[in-house]
């Protein structure tokens, strides 16, 4: 009985997804996966004949560039999807005209967002699985895979993306803009969080900034557990760090949403 909001949101979103947007996103994703893989493949094998700087293996924890980039992109997809679905949920309700009725119901915010989150995680996991499958011929190899460490890492990564998306949700609802804020944020995160290259190549101050964003840590953890073969015990420090950061983002996000929500309602219905 306690999870009614969560379950209802979860189910409703699945129905929307299956009926309103059948395969478009899916095809788009497979295509982007192929483009990413082709691009990395060309760069590594054709343009540079596999000649990396010695520093790369040190920074990345692996010498396998192709796997490094593709795993980075898979996690980036998880992040983008979480940010898109959770952050946009309220503003989508606003646009579709359901926000008013939603606000009239005594719904639990946490469960509502978690329901959105769970639904999109299930869908995205399917997409990522297909992406990895498509990328196999291009040379993705999990050279050092530690199942437990990866699982804990993925769970913590998702929590951290969730916390980030709450902040974005507040911003979106406040500015009532999704297009500019989300795409600018995606472009910045892509640049500074080490999706396709180690953050150590960036200038010093930007590196500090990127260490304050949980996305960077989540990428490190996932790569260390799938390519570097690090055990869960060896990564406790990173786990604690990402959990602490997520907690801070989460609290800030919920506080801001509470504040913005009333302002948004006033603006729309007032």
């Amino acid at each position: 009985m306690h999870c009614r909001t969560l379950y209802a949101t979860f189910r409703r979103n699945f129905i929307i997804q299956l009926r309103a947007y059948p395969k478009d996103f899916f095809i788009g994703n497979v295509l982007s996966a192929i483009y990413t893989a082709v691009s990395a493949f060309f760069m590594y094998h054709l343009l540079f004949n596999g000649q990396m700087k010695d520093s790369f293996a040190g920074y990345a924890g692996t010498g396998d560039y192709i796997s490094y980039v593709i795993i980075g992109n898979c996690m980036y997809l998880f992040m983008v999807r979480t940010l898109l679905n959770v952050s946009r949920s309220l503003i989508t309700e606003l646009r579709e005209g359901t926000l008013e009725s939603l606000m009239l119901a005594p719904f639990r915010r946490v469960q509502y967002f978690l329901g959105n989150m769970l639904q999109q995680t299930v869908t995205t996991s399917g997409e990522v699985a297909v992406m990895l499958l498509v990328c196999l011929p291009f040379g993705v190899r999990f050279s050092g895979f530690n199942g437990l460490a990866a699982l804990i890492g993925l769970a913590l990564a998702l929590v951290s993306y969730f916390s980030l998306s709450l902040l974005l949700a507040a911003l979106m609802l406040y500015t009532r803009d999704t297009y500019i804020s989300q795409n600018t944020l995606f472009a910045i995160l892509f640049l500074i969080c080490g999706v396709t290259f180690p953050v150590q190549y960036l200038p010093g101050p930007v590196q500090w900034l990127s260490q304050g964003i949980p996305v960077t840590i989540s990428l490190d953890i996932i790569r260390n557990s799938t390519l570097g073969g690090m055990t869960a015990a060896a990564q406790i420090g990173s786990y604690v760090r990402i959990a602490a950061l997520s907690a801070v983002y989460c609290i800030a996000g919920f506080l801001m949403i509470k504040k913005v929500e009333s302002a948004a309602l006033e603006k729309i219905f007032g």
Binding site: F48, K53, T196, F197
Partner: protein, 271 residues
């Protein structure tokens, strides 16, 4: 000719008013390409530039930024037209396309106006970037001015023609937005923006031959980095002119076929 210019001007003005109503457009026009460009630049960092293959040994740590800059600058030019074409497809949904087709306005002038207005949106960006190139490349001022001018003119003309072709293609169907997905990302990969087409396998070379951007980007790189003169780039110039004519003829054909199709089915706004 007078009426052609009138339609051209009117359409340009309309587009400008439609999309420059607030300052946020500058974020999409400047900040996003800038962030993409910086990300692309850092992608080269893990590699050993001295081991680069494919006749690109003129690239080194100091001119890498110019190398990437020229590629992305040309890409921005062409990409802004893909976006203009996508917005153009909204004319159909809004019903304005139908109204325009009821007037005796020259169709070619209409889509040209649409494309040119996008060009003006990105031209100030071009100035910023281009001065960047000159500042960064100040040590190696052996650029042949005549070929530089020619290269820039070809970049502008071909990107406008490319934009017109896309606009014309979007006239066919309301569902042509898939073209957007198909043309946006592959253009970046296959036109040799990050990895020059010279090192591609044969199948990828075949794809890259279709995009005019391939020739333009390579030509501009040779002019601005290698310091090639008119003699060395004449092959690129010739190909660009040929492609330009081919694109223009296909555009005109598409316009005629598109209108005939619409007249026959009588459904300008819907399908």
């Amino acid at each position: 000719m007078g009426s052609f210019m009138k339609v051209l001007k009117a359409e340009m003005r309309k587009q400008h008013k439609n999309y420059f109503f607030n300052k946020s457009i500058y974020i999409t026009l400047f900040i996003w390409p800038l962030l993409t460009f910086i990300s692309a630049y850092y992608c080269y960092k893990p590699f050993r530039l001295d081991k680069i293959v494919g006749g690109l040994d003129y690239v080194n740590e100091s001119n890498l930024v110019v190398f990437v800059l020229i590629g992305y600058l040309s890409l921005v030019f062409f990409r802004c037209f893909v976006q203009s074409a996508w917005r153009f497809s909204m004319e159909r949904t809004f019903g304005t396309l139908e109204l325009i087709y009821l007037t005796p306005a020259n169709r070619l002038a209409f889509i040209m106006g649409n494309a040119v207005s996008s060009l003006f949106e990105s031209i100030w960006l071009f100035v910023v970037f281009a001065s960047g190139i000159f500042v960064l490349n100040a040590s190696a001022y052996n650029i042949d001015m005549l070929s530089a001018m020619l290269g820039i003119i070809l970049l502008i003309v071909l990107s406008i023609l490319w934009g017109m072709l896309l606009n014309a293609l979007f006239l066919f169907s309301r569902d042509s937005s898939f073209l957007f997905t198909v043309l946006e990302e592959p253009m970046e990969i296959f036109a040799g923006i990050k990895v020059p087409a010279a090192v591609f396998p044969i199948w990828a070379k075949a794809i890259s031959a279709v995009f005019p951007l391939t020739y333009i980007a390579e030509m501009l790189r040779r002019i601005f980095i290698k310091g090639d003169g008119l003699v060395q780039i004449k092959g690129f110039v010739l190909i660009s002119i040929l492609i330009g004519f081919a694109i223009l003829s296909i555009t005109i054909l598409c316009l005629k076929l598109g209108e005939r199709h619409a007249k026959k089915t009588g459904s300008m706004a819907l399908f």
